[in-house]
Amino acid sequence: MNCTKLELRSYPPFIHDWKTSAKAAWICSATLVPVALWSSVLYGRIAVVTWLTAVAAALVAEAAASALTRRWTLGDGSAVLTGLLIAAAMPPGAPWYVPVASAAFAILIVKAAFGGLGANWMNPALAGVAFAYANWPAHMREYVLPRFVAGVDGVTAATPLTFAKGLAGGLDIKVMDALRGASYPLSAIDGAVTGFLNDSLFSRLSARLPDGYIDLIIGFKPGALGESALLAVALGSIVLVSLRLIKLEIPLAMLAVFGLLARLFGTGLPGEGFLAGDAMFAMSGGSLLLVAFYMAADPVSSPVGRGACLLYGASIGALSFVFRRWGAFTEGVAYAVLVMNVTVPFIEKAATGLRLKRGGVA
């Protein structure tokens, strides 16, 4: 059969779904804009600089890769998304070369060197972040309090998770009380919202929300740029899920397993017994939600198939818990995803139970 180029373009089906890889990446990027805006409100100029340098570095790296491979790929949106995700994992005020190097590593080494979009077996953004953690551990763990909380710019403080990790055992106090004791201020918004929720909703369920959680959710705490806008991240996740752009099974299984384990075994805080862990503190602190919906569910580096996705998500949830509970650093979620990225071929095979005669198919 003679297959000219014209025939290739005109093969059925002639209509398509609205989704394209490029649209998916651009929509993902767009949902991160509120996150960037909120963190910029919280941290001011230093946040804006980090967001912009990360995205610019990602674009430059992608352009360089395009030039090397003679394939113009800036339009597929994946570079911008990688840049945004790297910025989201940066602490506010990280020196400019940290996001730049991370983005360059992510795009050039992790993505382009393996054959570009679709061929990378690790999530580029996460690999870039891990690169930064390995290279500049001090810069990556130097957090500041948002302007509203401290009153002035640049007051250094540990993140709530790191702080909680540092709490010695034996003290029989709740983590929130300990945070207050360590002079983490409680914002007026937290007081008002918590009071309102307690009066209107929780009192009827004979429950009570302790002070401090609202501050964690709206970002009035030290943390990476992406963590500070938990509400915006949640909103973006809802958009991604409702447009069916990500594999919902992965974040669901991951959060369920993580929450369950945190409840069962505690987060390592004093004052927690077995079966009484502070799951809410564990879930709202750190970048768990962002990683779950934007990085673990990244299609390229995750498995295909419902069963495989559930297994993959559950494994990430369990691993993140182990890393965070007993590991050296609080940000174990990123490493959990990277570890599971490597095992994707095995997970797919285990889940589908397929046996191929010669070798495996990744």
Binding site: P12, F14, K247, V300, G305
Partner: protein
């Protein structure tokens, strides 16, 4: 009755393009009719019985069937045979075509149709008429007498009269059920006399108008046939035999004989009105057509004429498709002729095709969710691209029905089904 549907995958086709219903109009007669002799890639070519320069009447035999899958071909218009030559069809294979220029007087148009009482005819008589008049199954192009006699050798099958048109455009078969229900049920009785099905099932869309369904139900009850009317969910590819069987919990799709109302109308006209298969109901539509309509067109009419009759283009169409949007073929140009298998001509706008540059697979899994056969198209493609067609076959490539759901869903616009078709063609050749 509860609507049935296949169990997994598929593409939702909830929205139907706006369309004005009404009586089906006759298209103008073409000045030149290009009559293709073969409807099918595998058909033996019929032998022309006319010569260049010869005058032909409307409905006169142009070529005689010459073996498997070939059928008699008649002149759709009165005129003069101008050329007999081999051309490339829009289906991608070569076929001899006879060009007839309009001239002389009409013998059928405007004349009161003859009406024979077919009930006195026996199976052999009917079979002879169907063969003589060159009736083909509109959905596949196979000669009707051939497939009906094959079926009559193996009784116990279910005859499915399928008015399922699972795409956002066509509704010719539903319109025929509404406008010519009597002829369809009568045609059904004729086919049943030839092939003796165990039972007959009318497969209709779940959202069919009650005004269409009720008279049909009455006619079915009044006929002496065992006719059931079964609604099906509107989801592509519900119209494929495999998916109809799956929805009906029938293990072997081979026990279904699927025929569409338009074929039954042609059959009815052949037996009752002595009319050869020279007309075809064509849905002309798509976002780039001004006034979508169903036209009763003569075989051989250029599709450009039909488009003009529907008000021409609005905007610039990206592709012109002959047949459905999922499984049809792209028309090379507007001179492509209507054949006995041309069920639709669609001029699709860029908003409908949503074409985009092909990109590498991003493993989103949308193709896996779309496949009605439960295959993993992305994996099959990977196996084929790494030169392992045997492993692809072991992974289920043979079950692929080329429905195109995976290509429809693919975010990276990879023409998956094209690779699968080619791989299977190579397999056959080996």
């Amino acid at each position: 009755m509860r609507a049935r549907g296949f169990k997994r995958g598929g593409v939702p086709v909830d929205h139907r393009a706006p369309f004005k219903t009404g009586p089906i109009e006759n298209a103008f007669l073409p000045m030149n009719a290009i009559v293709q002799l073969r409807e099918h890639r595998c058909a033996v070519e019929p032998i022309p019985v006319v010569s260049v320069g010869q005058e032909v009447r409307e409905g006169q035999l142009l070529a005689r069937s010459a073996g498997k899958a070939s059928s008699n071909v008649h002149s759709p218009i009165p005129g003069i045979v101008r050329r007999i030559e081999t051309t490339r069809t829009s289906g991608g294979f070569d076929s001899k075509a006879i060009l007839v220029s309009l001239e002389g007087s009409f013998s059928m148009l405007g004349k009161r149709p003859e009406r024979y009482l077919w009930k006195s005819l026996n199976k052999a008589d009917i079979s002879h008429i169907v063969q003589d008049k060159g009736i083909v199954r509109v959905s596949s192009g196979e000669p009707l007498y051939e497939i009906l006699s094959e079926r009559s050798d193996a009784p116990g099958f279910v005859m499915v009269v399928s008015a399922l048109e699972m795409d956002p455009y066509r509704r010719t078969e539903e319109e025929l059920l509404a406008l010519r229900a009597e002829d369809v049920v009568d045609g059904c009785a004729i086919a049943a006399r030839m092939a003796l099905p165990a039972r007959i099932m009318f497969a209709v869309d779940e959202r069919i108008e009650p005004a269409t369904l009720e008279p049909l139900r009455e006619l079915a009850a009044r006929s002496e046939l065992d006719i059931a009317i079964q609604p099906f969910r509107r989801r592509f590819p519900q119209d494929l035999p495999g998916q109809i069987a799956e929805a009906m919990d029938i293990a072997d799709p081979g026990t279904l004989f699927i025929i569409e109302p338009s074929t039954l109308v042609a059959l009815h006209e052949a037996v009752v009105s002595n009319k050869p298969h020279i007309e075809q109901y064509v849905y002309v539509g798509g976002g780039s057509i001004k006034r979508p309509a169903i036209l009763k067109a003569r075989i051989g009419a250029p599709i450009g004429d039909l488009i003009e009759e529907c008000g021409g283009f609005s905007g610039h169409p990206e592709t012109i498709v002959i047949g459905g949007p999922f499984r049809g073929r792209a028309a090379a140009d507007l001179d492509a002729p209507v054949t006995r298998t041309t069920r639709a001509v669609l001029a699709l706008s860029p908003e409908e095709t949503k074409s985009a540059p092909e990109r590498p697979c991003v493993r989103c899994g949308d193709c896996v969710d779309a496949c009605p056969e439960g295959l993993s198209p992305y994996r099959l493609l990977k196996l084929l691209r790494s030169g392992r067609p045997d492993d692809a076959l072991a992974a289920g490539l043979g079950r692929c029905s080329s429905c195109g759901s995976c290509s429809y869903a693919c975010r990276s616009r990879i023409p998956l089904v094209r690779y699968f078709d080619e791989a299977r063609q190579n397999e056959v050749r080996r």
